[in-house]
């Protein structure tokens, strides 16, 4: 701290150069904050992994559907306790500006299989009994200022209804997922109403979910289910919920890779730019550093001063960049639907800070070592 004034003053030596370097760092960390937040949001672990839950999905593509009448045969498989199903609804809400997953489900069995979804008994019953009923997670209700009793219109993107108009739902419940660090940003629709009112695809579901009595038999049960429908026109692929969700995670992992590649390119450029600025700055200040040593500053002190300058410079660019990213993200989420709910977490902020310190260390090391090895007599001799 004693040398802080000295370190800080060095940034003012060439104000224009410092400003331009800081501006580049600001943009780099702004990009980091945005892209890394998106990457983290997409690569977050599966929402609800149950060891006793199996997912029965179409074998070849997730956009295929399975006949609802498979459920009778699946329920007869030894070890299957409860069966439910889930279908991707798609659709848009409020002019398509807000994206969140929406699924028609069979309320009773689904909530039996997913006890993590907690909602008051009266709302649970209302969901079961109300054909047009939907429930949403608390975070969504707060975000869109929705309350039980509200009408919830959705415009179809996949499933047109028989009137070829918007779907009108009634919000009958708001659920929580207590004790779990998972997203509750989903909307569940009563399947029976959905199935009756849709224009096509009646009797089809996206996937089945079953709860089994013994997780140790999961592989055996999965094989038995898939064997039931082998060589049919709708073959199935049954896997544990964890494996199924992991498959999705791997797909979005590619997005993470793309983001990481972009960031790597940005930071490599910044590394060269900042490294050059630091090296140039130190080169110009050789006599000043020699004077510090003449006055009695040790080699290590001078090394630390140069290193601190480098880290300080990167941090000054980094912190506003990260704050700007966190300020911009909510606005982006409003205008870009697939970014809905993406926020900059403390984890991403911490990652940015660590990256800044690392960047500062990397770009500061060569000039700091030069300062460390600086010979006073030679340096002053060149200057005189």
């Amino acid at each position: 701290m004693r040398y802080f004034g000295l370190i800080w003053a060095a940034l003012y030596r060439k104000p224009v150069r410092s400003f331009l370097t800081l501006a580049s760092l600001f943009v780099a960390f702004l990009l980091f904050g945005l892209l890394q937040s998106v990457s983290v949001a997409f690569s977050e672990g599966p929402d609800l992994d149950g060891v006793d839950r199996l997912i029965i999905a179409p074998k070849y593509s997730i956009i295929d559907q399975l006949p609802l009448n498979y459920s009778r045969q699946i329920l007869q498989v030894k070890g299957v306790e409860v069966l439910s199903h889930q279908t991707w609804f798609g659709g848009t809400f409020r002019n398509g500006r807000s994206f969140f997953p929406r699924f028609p489900i069979q309320p009773e069995t689904f909530m039996d299989i997913y006890p993590e979804l907690v909602l008051p008994q009266d709302q649970r019953q209302a969901f079961i009994n109300t054909r047009t009923g939907v429930i949403i997670g608390r975070s969504l209700a707060q975000k869109f200022n929705l309350k039980v009793g509200d009408k919830l219109p959705l415009t179809a993107t996949i499933w047109e209804n028989k009137d070829k108009g918007p779907w009108e739902f009634d919000l009958v419940g708001i659920y929580d997922i207590p004790g779990e660090e998972v997203s509750d940003a989903q909307l569940f629709i009563n399947y029976n109403y959905f199935d009756e009112y849709r224009l096509r695809g009646t009797g089809l579901v996206g996937k089945f979910i079953v709860r089994i009595d013994n997780p140790d038999r999961a592989a055996e049960v999965a094989l038995e289910i898939d064997t039931l429908f082998a060589n049919s026109s709708n073959e199935t692929k049954t896997s544990t919920e964890k494996a199924y969700n992991q498959m999705f995670a791997n797909q979005v992992g590619d997005i993470g890779f793309i983001m990481t590649s972009i960031l790597s390119a940005v930071f490599f450029t910044i590394l060269l730019l900042t490294g050059n600025t630091m090296a140039q700055g130190i080169r110009e200040r050789i006599p000043e550093l020699a004077i510090l040593k003449t006055l009695g500053f040790s080699n290590v002190s001078v090394l630390l001063i140069v290193m601190s300058e480098s880290i300080l410079m990167v941090l000054i660019g980094c912190v506003p960049g990260l704050f700007a990213a966190s300020a911009i993200l909510p606005g982006l989420a409003v205008s870009v639907s697939f970014l809905a709910g993406v926020e900059m977490s403390a984890f991403v902020f911490a990652q940015g800070m660590v990256l800044a310190v690392l960047l500062g260390l990397i770009v500061g090391t060569p000039p700091a070592l030069r300062a460390l090895r600086l010979n006073i007599v030679d340096a002053l001799g060149e200057h005189q």
């Binding site: 000295l6 003053a9 030596r13 000043e288 009695g296 040790s298 002053l380 200057h383």
Partner: protein
């Protein structure tokens, strides 16, 4: 007889330039008493600055010993030498060598960053040193806002601030006009006479040397003449 403040004994200094060894000082002996004001003169390349660097602890001899205040500084490590310099020597250079981004006050305060003084104590002492050189009213100015003579005064204040017993000055008036140079030399004289500082000054200027109490002449790395005034 009292031990001299500076005792340079059989000192040789050879620099390596590529494959060639260039001898700069050869078995040189010189003693300087505490409170002396010595002008070190001689033609370019005679070894004046090299001798100054050895006495100021900026460099080490190839052979011989350099004892300052009873301490063999040629045997100190780089770290020990840095600490020794901060406590015992003040430096004044021809081109002032102030840090352009710092105010006069902050420049003078620099050596005190190595002490345990509080921030307010550092400021107080730096202001006092600026007052000694007559620049207390310029404390908030940056070097580019000062004249050459004022910059050199700030450099002298910086050399004084940690109250060293020895000041080494390498051509302190070499970049100044006659009138300003005389002011600086008068100031050095005051520091020598009134504050008891031992001063070793390299100069080419006989008029500057007139301000010293002794002149020492070097040629080809050897002491050729010592002349008391």
């Amino acid at each position: 007889m009292d031990q001299p403040l500076i005792d340079v004994s059989n000192v040789s200094k050879t620099y390596s330039r590529g494959k060639m060894d260039v001898p700069v000082l050869q078995e040189l002996n010189i003693q300087i008493e505490e409170g002396d004001f010595i002008a070190l003169m001689g033609p370019s390349g005679s070894g004046k600055t090299t001798l100054l660097n050895l006495i100021g602890g900026l460099d080490k001899p190839s052979a011989g010993s350099v004892t300052i205040g009873g301490q063999r500084i040629d045997q100190l490590s780089q770290g020990e030498l840095a600490k020794w310099r901060s406590k015992n020597v003040g430096f004044v250079f021809q081109f002032y060598n102030l840090l352009p981004v710092l105010t006069a006050l902050k420049n003078v305060e620099l050596p005190l960053l190595l002490t345990g003084f509080s921030r307010s104590e550092r400021k107080k002492r730096a202001l006092a040193a600026l007052a000694v050189v007559g620049l207390a009213d310029r404390a908030g100015h940056r070097p580019r806002e000062l004249s050459g003579g004022q910059e050199q005064r700030v450099a002298i204040a910086r050399a004084l601030v940690s109250d060293p017993s020895l000041l080494v000055c390498d051509e302190p008036t070499g970049d100044l006009d006659r009138a300003t140079a005389d002011e600086i030399l008068d100031l050095l004289q005051v520091l020598n006479r009134e504050y008891g500082k031992t001063i070793l000054m390299v100069t080419h200027d006989p008029k500057a040397a007139d301000h010293a109490s002794h002149c020492v002449y070097l040629d080809k790395g050897q002491l050729i003449q010592e002349s008391p005034k």
